[in-house]
């Protein structure tokens, strides 16, 4: 079982927008896991500070098994071009295509064998889209970029099973590093798991968990 840990570092996001962003990120990632039939611990959390939006999910299956399936292609009476396209899009050859009758007529079919897919590969391929799906109640653009975000997004840290996930989100390349200093954005540090991340920031007096912060503030009153 693996751990997914993503941190989106930005300039100060207002409190209400943080709630909006946490909920959106949670919803989108959950939908992604369900749609792709990836087993995961549904009691996961999304945290935020003004500068950091953090996703942490553990007990995720490291790979998924896709069962073999028969994929229906064009009708046998369709032009040859349709069949050629079907062969190409399934990355196969004519020998592996067979005809089969259905209620709607006779069609070409292709049998896709069962196979295993690494969840890390799926995440690298889809995280950019998952982030794009975040609907902000209010968002902005900055500099020359086309990205809309709550406030300027500066870096993305993404780790799966202690290894960096590499993907590109608009003008930003993900990595295993983040800024340790929110003011001058100078110190960069590598993190390979969520535990070392929260411990490091706790030592610096920063609590990533908003509920914990709330609790402590209430106790101080």
């Amino acid at each position: 079982m693996s751990e997914l840990f993503v941190e989106l570092f930005s300039e100060e996001i207002p409190a209400k927008l943080q709630i909006n962003a946490r909920n959106e990120l949670k919803k989108n990632i959950k939908n992604f896991f369900i749609e792709n039939q990836i087993k995961f611990n549904e009691n996961f959390n999304v945290y935020s500070t003004p500068n950091r939006l953090v996703l942490h999910i553990n007990k995720i299956a490291s790979e998924i098994k896709l069962n073999s399936e028969e994929i229906r292609g064009p009708n046998v009476n369709a032009p040859d071009k349709a069949l050629e396209g079907f062969i190409r899009s399934n990355n196969t050859t004519l020998e592996k295509i067979f005809k089969k009758s259905t209620e709607k007529g006779e069609f070409y079919f292709f049998k896709k064998e069962s196979r295993k897919i690494k969840v890390s590969d799926l995440l690298e391929k889809n995280l950019s889209e998952i982030l794009t799906k975040i609907t902000w109640n209010k968002s902005m653009k900055w500099a020359n970029y086309d990205l809309y975000w709550g406030r300027p997004l500066k870096s993305i840290l993404a780790i799966f099973n202690k290894k960096p996930l590499n993907f590109v989100f608009n003008h930003i390349n993900s990595s295993n590093k983040t800024f340790t200093d929110k003011s001058l954005e100078e110190g960069l540090k590598i993190f390979n798991d969520f535990d070392s991340y929260i411990k490091f920031f706790k030592q610096k007096g920063i609590l990533i968990d908003q509920d914990l912060r709330k609790k402590i503030i209430r106790l101080m009153k």
Binding site: E11, M140, K141, W142, A143, P152, K154, S183, L184, E185
Partner: protein, 290 residues
């Protein structure tokens, strides 16, 4: 690099000098105040017009800002009808702008590490400029000292690239630095001249003009004349002189507003008229930029 906290308390004028020097080193064109009455540094054409169009631009300047309704005859320690803003505009907004800003505070003796600096949500809109932006007001130990805005729209046009605008309220900042309770007690220079010596009489007299003596019949006529002139210059496609006339319209409107002769419905109508002028000027300006 972090500047060391300076021991000597900065005078009002040294605060300005230091900010000018700091932003000059960051490559900004240091301009002098625009020579017309405006409500804020944003109205200077170096911000309004220069934030439109694709060309990069960096500037910083002091802008006297006139807000007739805010006058208090020099009796209120915090309210003025004429005050100073220090304005920075950079297009496109640089990646390290927050760091640049925090270091600019160090240059005037406010070390960000020794103070509680907060970026508090404050989205900005100017109905007369047809402008909007997202950003923060920056608090230093609980007091607002700066507006920090990423322009999204100006003169009704989407900004591309996006400019960042940093506006320091110089009196407030100085009151914080000098630890003064009244703006009039601010030390202006090292000779002991105070803000009161320089501006108290003018606050008193302009408050009287804005609230009591401004000839409103004439001002209504002047507004019409200026509006007509702006439209004519827009037709001639000379955006800068057109914008000057529009700024004058805006100030005349502000005085009429202070005189209390504009109803709620009229207010919205006048604002819309000024916005239309700004939009048409913005269009001419952008055409001249490509």
């Amino acid at each position: 690099m972090v500047y060391k906290t300076q021991k000597k308390t900065l005078s009002f004028q040294d605060t300005i000098f230091n900010l000018q020097k700091y932003w000059s080193k960051k490559g900004c064109v240091i301009l002098q105040p625009y020579d017309l009455e405006v409500g804020a540094g944003t109205f200077h054409p170096a911000t309004t017009l220069r934030s439109l169009g694709p060309k990069p631009w960096k500037t910083a300047y002091v802008q006297p800002s006139r807000r007739p309704t805010d006058g208090r005859y020099g009796d209120n320690p915090n309210r003025l009808q004429h005050y100073y803003q220090f304005q920075v505009l950079i297009k496109p907004s640089p990646k390290e702008i927050k760091k640049m800003y925090l270091n600019s505070l160090s240059s005037i003796g406010i070390n960000y590490e020794e103070h509680d600096i907060r970026f508090v949500e404050d989205d900005w809109e100017s109905p007369t400029l047809g402008a909007a932006g997202l950003g923060w007001e920056v608090w230093c130990d609980g007091m607002e000292v700066t507006q920090f805005t990423y322009f999204q729209q100006m003169a009704g046009v989407e900004c591309k690239p996006v400019s960042v605008e940093i506006t320091y309220g110089l009196e407030r900042l100085s009151m914080f630095i000098q630890n003064k309770k009244s703006v009039f007690d601010l030390i202006w220079n090292d000779e002991g001249i105070t803000y009161k010596d320089v501006f108290h009489k003018s606050e008193k007299e302009f408050s009287a003009y804005n609230f009591e003596y401004a000839n409103t019949d004439n001002l209504f006529k002047i507004f019409e004349m200026l509006e007509e002139e702006t439209k004519l210059l827009v037709e001639k496609k000379i955006s800068l002189p057109a914008y000057d006339q529009c700024l004058k319209c805006s100030h005349v409107f502000n005085i009429l507003d202070a005189r209390g002769v504009i109803s709620v419905a009229q207010r919205a109508e006048y604002i819309a008229r000024i916005r239309e002028l700004t939009k048409s000027i913005g269009k001419v300006w952008i055409e001249s930029q490509s």
